[in-house]
């Protein structure tokens, strides 16, 4: 199966091309099924590859499949090649797996959309790009996928482009991502200069062999991190992700929660030897940025009212966790969290999609409530997701989050404890705002009744609303949408199994499955931190984490369900600390002014100089022509002056002197 690893991207590509050519003819829902089938096929290939790898000796678990020479210019030889190793196959598995589920979901969700097949066109293109991203044998192939997913993200966010906000959000996502890409590209350049190649093999090999200067390695690592910050929506570039919720909900689930946004984490993990070779400060920076983002986004999520915005900020926050892991050297934990997060966050996004679908495209949580009765399956699955993200054992989220916190503390030094505390606080907040959301949506009183008639479909969306408006009643979604929810809920519940920590009470064979699997790629497993006080007290830490989760849940229940305390939702938090609006204001204000100034400069100074010269010539001509008075005596006078000057030059200049 490894020889045909290229089939993983090839199936979505085929889907893309088929829909491109026949999409309109296929129409709804056939094109959706076609797309889903293609992704499923990819998933099957991935599974096959997984088993192939599994059958190999752990240190030979890397297979490079070169398709063709892509960019060969003398010393720069870049192949279009795919690397099948535990990391990439892990990624492929969950990308295609979750991707398939979301495709299915979308078939239901996008029902009735006039651009139905186009949506799946984009989705398949996205899966294609994403699989290229993760399978890439070198940075450039990854970058191809990296930009490809960015483009798809742009296309999908602005899918409902008639809405100004959607169009703007798409553009914002792309441009912000490009800021990160700048770093990514520079990292490649630096890597090529230092190593003569951009393949992971060569770069990581050089890093491991210690043949890279620390400064170079640090540079590469941090520049890649800049790229990751952009793609994975970390501070300060996270601003595009909340806006990206303008896209259809399956898109949010697939791209802006499960897969694309984790690409940064994947990249850092892929390059982990480079990070190891870099100065320790690099890791610290990553960890700090991750932790700060986690906390920052969590605080914002607390005050959001849009069902998807909460999830979006939550995603940012969880991604921060992953970077905290990366920065702490917990690459396995990062991947682990990535996978579990993919499960539960995709689940919740789809759940929210189901809610939105059922609520006739109403996203304001304040207009929901008590939906569990009307949408029982959605509610049940959502609650699983909630428990998972809140960190309640034994749901998946608990295990991964716990491991990250463990590593953060084990990092030691000045930063270790601080990061750990930040992580804990974030965990409390996470539990709090997720509980808040669940309560607001599924419990409490049904506020949607009073808003039923006022609930107008947002502008430009009327063609997508279905059912009669007259009798407004939220309804459960069709089976095709529920099926993915159920599957994901299952995964979210038991996903932790893939990497249970080495707690005493867990059987040996179950422990560290992911770690062992990923070992050829990521050698720094839990054994790495063995001996630190954190490691020794990890059961204690786990209890602390559980406590935090419960505190968060408890407080939220107290406030929103029991109404013991009046909710405090500062506007500042709802506004995201005014950061986004500040950036926008800057861009629209001084930034735009500066651009305009340059345009003005171009028109008036640079071009003005050109026209000035023309004017000067014309003006000089106008002046000089005044000597041409038409009077013959004047002419003679000028001739005479010429004579005198010439004579003077000859007689005095050349003669007498």
């Amino acid at each position: 199966m490894l020889d045909v690893i290229w089939l993983i991207p090839a199936f979505p590509l085929a889907g893309f091309l088929l829909i491109l050519l026949f999409g309109r003819r296929l129409g709804e829902p056939k094109s959706g099924y076609l797309a889903s089938a293609m992704v499923l096929a990819s998933f099957v290939v991935s599974v096959g590859a997984y088993f192939d790898l599994l059958s190999m000796d752990s240190h030979e678990r890397a297979h490079i499949e070169t398709l063709f020479s892509w960019v060969p210019v003398s010393s720069l030889q870049i192949d279009m090649a795919f690397l099948a190793d535990p990391l990439s196959i892990t990624m492929c598995l969950f990308v295609t797996g979750i991707g398939f589920l979301i495709h299915l979901f979308a078939v239901g969700y996008m029902h009735g959309d006039p651009n139905f097949s186009k949506f799946f066109l984009y989705l398949n293109l996205f899966v294609l790009s994403m699989t290229i991203l993760v399978l890439g044998e070198n940075l450039l192939v990854t970058f191809l996928g990296w930009e490809g997913v960015g483009t798809c993200s742009y296309l999908l966010i602005s899918f409902w482009h008639q809405r100004e906000s959607a169009a703007t959000a798409g553009k914002k996502a792309f441009v912000t991502n490009r800021v990160g890409d700048w770093g990514f590209m520079l990292a490649m350049f630096l890597g090529f200069e230092a190593v003569g190649s951009v393949s992971y093999h060569a770069l990581n090999g050089a890093a491991e062999a210690g043949s890279l200067a620390t400064s170079t390695a640090t540079g590469i690592a941090l520049l890649l991190f800049v790229g990751a910050v952009g793609k994975s929506a970390q501070l300060p570039l996270y601003i595009w992700l909340p806006d990206a919720m303008e896209g259809p909900t399956p898109v949010s689930a697939l791209i802006h929660a499960a897969t694309m946004v984790t690409a940064g984490v994947f990249l850092m993990t892929r390059m982990n030897p480079m990070l190891a070779a870099a100065a320790p400060e690099a890791s610290t920076i990553i960890a700090v940025v991750g932790a700060l983002t986690a906390l920052f986004a969590a605080t914002i999520a607390v005050a959001q009212t849009d069902i998807k915005k909460v999830l979006a900020y939550s995603t940012v926050s969880q991604l921060g966790y992953m970077f905290l892991a990366v920065g702490s050297g917990a690459f396995v934990a990062a991947i682990f969290h990535m996978v579990t997060h993919a499960f539960f966050k995709a689940l919740m996004f789809l759940g929210s999609g189901s809610v939105i679908h059922g609520m006739h495209h109403e996203q304001d949580m304040r207009k929901m409530g008590a939906l569990r009765k009307l949408m029982p399956i959605t509610a049940a699955t959502f609650i699983v997701g909630w428990l998972a993200i809140a960190g309640v054992p034994p749901f998946a989220g608990f295990w991964s989050k716990d491991e990250i916190l463990l590593f953060a503390l084990a990092k030691g030094g000045t930063w270790g404890p601080i990061l750990y505390v930040v992580g804990l606080v974030t965990a409390v907040l996470t539990a709090f705002y997720m509980t808040r959301q669940v309560i607001m949506v599924f419990f409490g009183e049904a506020k949607w009744e009073s808003h039923a008639n006022a609930a107008e479909a947002p502008e430009g969306e009327d063609e997508m609303t279905h059912g009669a408006h007259g009798e407004f009643k939220p309804h459960e979604s069709p089976p095709i949408m529920l099926f993915p929810l159920v599957v994901l809920a299952g995964l979210a519940a038991v996903g932790g199994l893939i990497q249970l920590p080495a707690f005493g009470f867990i059987p040996d064979g179950w422990q560290h499955k992911l770690e062992h699997w990923l070992e050829p790629v990521v050698e720094a497993g839990e054994a790495h931190i063995a001996g630190t006080s954190a490691y020794d007290n990890k059961e204690l830490l786990a209890l602390l984490a559980i406590a935090c989760a419960l505190i968060g849940i408890g407080v939220a229940v107290a406030i929103y369900a029991k109404k013991l305390v009046k909710p405090v939702e500062p506007q500042l938090l709802a506004d995201g600390w005014k950061y986004d609006s500040g950036v926008s204001a800057f861009m629209g204000g001084p930034g735009r002014k500066a651009f305009e100034a340059i345009a003005w400069f171009d028109k008036n100074v640079v071009d003005g100089a050109v026209h000035g010269v023309a004017k000067l010539v014309g003006g000089a001509g106008g002046q000089i022509r005044k000597t041409q008075t038409g009077n013959v005596r004047n002419y003679a006078g000028i001739v005479g002056v010429g004579v005198v000057l010439l004579l003077a030059w000859f007689v005095i200049g050349r003669g007498v002197l």
């Binding site: 008075t629 009077n631 005596r633 004047n634 006078g637 005479g640 002056v641 004579v643 005198v644 004579l647 003077a648 007689v651 005095i652 003669g655 007498v656």
Partner: protein, 172 residues
């Protein structure tokens, strides 16, 4: 004696020249020109260029100035020019600069070269000899130029015809 002649003739020349420039009436100017031309002729005689002196008087004074006067009369442009008016304020200073500059620089050149001008065997002062020499020179070295002057005269003839012939429109 030579010097006295020189002074007198030069005075004629300069006076005449100034007359041309300064006399408002064109007739007076033309007559002043005659004075100059005679002065030049006197110089020619003093220098032994008898033939040229004769030609100077005959052609210049006799023909050219007469022609001038004839035209003045023919056209009736003997109206005196008001020299106190100069429509272009810069013109007179300019003229002064040009006149003084040209003369001055030429004089400077002449003075600067006065010792380098070679002196050859003086030509005979005899008028006959002068004419002979001139003729010999004219018909040997300058015979082509001499013949070519006829072409120049054709221009004068044909040109005048072209300019002054009364022409009926559309006819040959």
């Amino acid at each position: 004696m030579d010097f006295v002649v020189f002074i007198l003739a030069s005075a004629m020349v300069i006076a005449g020249a100034l007359g041309v420039v300064l006399r408002p009436n064109p007739v007076h100017a033309a007559l002043s020109l005659v004075l100059t031309l005679f002065g030049v002729a006197v110089h020619f005689v003093a220098l032994g260029a008898h033939f040229l002196a004769a030609v100077q008087v005959i052609v210049y004074a006799g023909a050219i100035v007469v022609l001038f006067l004839f035209v003045i009369m023919l056209l009736g442009v003997d109206k005196a020019e008001d020299l106190s008016i100069e429509p272009f304020p810069i013109q007179r200073p300019l003229a002064a600069v040009v006149g003084a500059g040209v003369s001055g620089l030429l004089v400077a050149a002449i003075v600067g070269a006065k010792d380098t001008i070679p002196e050859g065997t003086p030509l005979g002062a005899d008028g006959d000899q002068n004419i002979r020499a001139l003729a010999r020179n004219l018909f040997s070295d300058h015979v082509f130029a001499f013949e070519f002057t006829s072409v120049l005269l054709i221009v004068a003839v044909a040109g005048t015809v072209l300019l002054t012939r009364k022409e009926k429109k559309g006819s040959a």
